[in-house]
Amino acid sequence: MNPTAAAQLNSLLAALILLTAFALVVQRRMNALLHIFAWQGFLLAVSTAIVGFVGGAHHLYISSFLTLGIKVILLPYILHLLIHKLKIRKEVDSVINVPTTMMIGIILVIYSYHLTAPIRELSTLVTRSTIAVALATFMLGFLMMITRKHAVAQIIGFLAMENGLLFAATSATYGMPLVVELGVALDLLIAAFIFGMFFFHISTTFDSLDVDQMARLKEED
C-alpha cells in the first residue's frame, strides 16, 4: 500500500470515527449506544493497524488487538450484561436538547481544527490530518459525559474520550510506548469492573441510575 492511499484510507476512517462520535452524542437508546461504541472501537482498531503497517511501528498491531479485544468485545459485553441485569430500558434523557448539543459539537470540531493547525504544518506523518479528528472525538466524549444524566451513558462517554486519546496518540506520534498502552488497557478493564460495582450500588441505593440523584449526597449548609 502506498502512503498516499494509506493516508486517504486513514482519513476516511477518521471521518467515520467522527461520525460515530456525533452519533454517540445524540443517540438516545441504550442498546444503540452500545452498538455505536463498539463500531467506534472497531474503526479505531482498523485505523491503528493501518498506521502500524504504513509507519512500520509493529507494536501498534498489539495495540490494535487490545482495542479490538477490550473495546469492541469485552467492554460492550460487560455493559450489555449490566444493562440487562439492572433492567435498563428507558430512553436516555439529556440535560440539553439534541439540536443544541449538535451545535456545540460542531463548534468543538471547528475549534479542534483551529487548535491543531500548527501541528499539521509541522508534522510529516501520514496521519497528520487526523489529529484534529482525534481531539474532536475526545471533546465530544467529554460533551457526552456532561449532557447525559444516565450513569451508563456517562461511562460510554468516558470510554469514547479514551478512544479519542488513543486515536490522538496514534495519529500524532504513531502511538504511545507499548508499556503505557498496556497500562491504559489494564486501567480500562479495572475501571469497567469498578464502574460495574458502583452502578450496582447506585441503583440499589437510589433505585435509579440517574446521576442527578447523587446531588442528594451533598452536605447541607
Partner: protein
Amino acid sequence: MAASFAALVLLLVLTIFLRRSQRLLITAGFSLAGLASFLAAGAGFLTVAQGMTFRIVVPLGLPDLPFHLRLDVLSGYFLMIIGLLALFVSIYSIGYVRGFLGVRPVTSLVVFSTFFLAGMFLVVLADDALFFMIAWELMAGASYYLVMFEDERLENRRASFLYLLVAHVGAIAILLSFGILAGLTTGFQGFEGYTFDAMREAKHPQALATAAFLLAFFGFSAKAGVIPLHIWLPEAHPVAPSNVSALMSGVMLKTAIYGMMRVIFDLIGVFPWWWGALVLVFGLISAVLGVLYALLQHDLKKLLAYSSVENIGIILISMGLSMIFASFGLTVLSALAMIAALYHTLNHAMFKGLLFMGAGTVLHATHERSMEKMGGLIKFMPWTSALFLVGCLSIAALPPFNGFVSEWLTYQAFLLSPALTNPLLNLLVPLGAALLALTSALAAALFVKAYGVTFLGHRRSRHPAVIHEAPWSMRIAMSLAALACLALGIFPTYLIHWMDPITKFLVGDTISSSAAGFGWMWLTPIAHDRASYSAPVVFVVILAVVAITYLLLHSRAGTIRRGPLWGCGFEGITSRMQYTAMSFSMPLRRIFGFLFSIKEKVHHLPPTTHSAFPGRLQYHLRVRDRAWIWVYQPISDASFWISRRIGRMQHGRIQVYLIYSFVTIIVLLIFSR
C-alpha cells in the same frame, strides 16, 4: 546499628504473637526496645568518639531513587541522645505501662512506640531528602497515635489533631525547603539532586538559599515548638502517656534541632549573619515567654511542656550565636556556642526525660494532673521526690548538675561577643544575655513552684487515697537518668573532648584544647584567665557542706524533735491554707500580666454563718496564650470563611463538575496554542 533495627523488627514480629498475653508483651516488648536503644546509643557514641562516617545505599523506595543512609558525627551524637533516653524510658515503661493492664489493651502503645523509635533513629540517619521525609512522617504519624492512645477523651482527640496539623504544616515547609535545595543542584532540571551529598556540593545563590533557610527554620520550628508555633506542645504532651511525653519532649523535639543543624551548617554551609540573629531572636522569645507561660500553669505536665519550649529557646540561642560567630569567621567562638547548644540538647533530653518520668510516676500514683490537688507527696514517695528534685536542680541550672554547665557555656559565648564588629549585634547580644539571665532566674522560680507545690507541704486533695511508691523499674529508670544528669554535670571536659569531631565537622574548629587546657578538673572554655569552672571541686564542696551540716545536726541525739505544726497560736490550720500553685505565681502574673490574656473572676458567696466571720470568696483564673488569639484564631477563622465560599461551588451534580474540568481544558488549550 543494624542490630538495633533487627531488635526493633523482632519486636514488631513478637507483638503479633504476644497480643494475647499483655503482661508478657509489655516486659518483652520494652526490654527489646531498650536493647535496640542501647545498641543505637552505643553506635552513636563510638561514631562520635572516632569521628567516623558510614554510608549505605539501600535499593528500596521509588525506582531510580534509592534510600541513602549515612552515620556521621552529627547523626551519631543525636543517635546517642535518642538511644540513651529511649533506653531509660523503655525501662521505665515496663513498670509504667502495667498501669494500663485491665484498663485498655496496650498492643497499640507497644507497636507505635516501636515505630516512633525507629522513625527517630531513621530521621538522623537519612542522607537524602526523600528518605528524610519518610522517616520524619513515620515519626510524626506514630507519635500522633501515641498521643491518641487514650482516645475516649475529647481533650486527647483535640490535642492530637492539633499536633498532626502543626506537624504537617511544618513538614510541608521542610519539603519545600528540600525542594529548593535539590533544585539548585541540577538547576531545577532533574531529580538527581535529592541526596544530601548533591546539596552539599551545589552552589547556593543568596536569595534561594535564604528562602530554603526560612522554610526549613519554619518547618523545624513547628516540630521544636518555637513560639509562636508552640501551641500543640502544651496540649499534646499532657494528654499522652507519660513515657511517651518523656520521649516526645526529651528527644523528638531534638530531631528538629538536628534538622536545623543539618540544613543550616551542613547542607547550606555559608550564611549571612542575620540568619543567626533571626534564630537568636526567636530563641530569646521562646525562652522568656516559655518560662513565663510555664509559671502560670498548675497542671504538672503542662508546666513541663512549656518548660520544654523554654529549653528549646535556650538551645536556639546558642545555635544562633554559633551562626553569628561562624558568619564573621570566628570559628573558635562559633565552636564554643555550638558546644553549648549541643550540650544543652543532651542535658535537656536527660533532665526533661527525668522530670516527665517523675510526673508520670506522680500521675500513676495519685491519678491527678493538677498540682492544686497534690502536695506532701515526699512522705509517700521518697524515691520519686528525691529523683524529681535532681531533675529540678538540673533544669534550674544549679551546680553541680548538668544544666549549669551548658547554660554557663552559653553565657561565656555571650560574654565573648564584643569581638563582633556589627553595631546592631552589639546592641542585640547584651540584651539577649540579660534576657537569658531573666529566663534562668524565672526557671529556678518555676521549679521551686513545681517541686514545692507537688512534693512539699500538706496533701491538698480531699480524698486521701493510699499512695504507693513507684515500682522498681520506674525507680531504676529515673535513677539512671538522674545519674546521667550528675555525671554530665561533673565531667564536662570529657564530654567536650568527645564532642570535638562534631564542631570540627559543623564549624571547622574545636575548643577542647583550650577547654581542657588545665586538666580534666577545670573547664576553661577559651582561656583560664577569662573564666573557669571546676565541676568536681564544686561537687566535692557541696557534698562536704551537706555532710558536715548533717553530722552537726545528727551527732547528738535529741537535737531534732518532730512536733505538730505551729500556727502562731491559730488552731484550725488546714491544708487549704498553704501556698497554692496559683498563688505562688501571682506576683509574676501581676508583673508580666500584659503578655497573657488573663480572666480573673471573684465571686462573693453568701455568708453561711454569723456576719462577724469573713465572707466566703471563690476565685477563678483563666490564662490563655496570646499566640492563640493573635495568630491562630484569625487563621482558623479565615480558613473557615474560605471553605464556606468554596463550598458554594460544590453543587453535588456530576455534570457541573465535568463542566468545570471541560472549561479548564478548553482554556488551557487556548493558552497553550
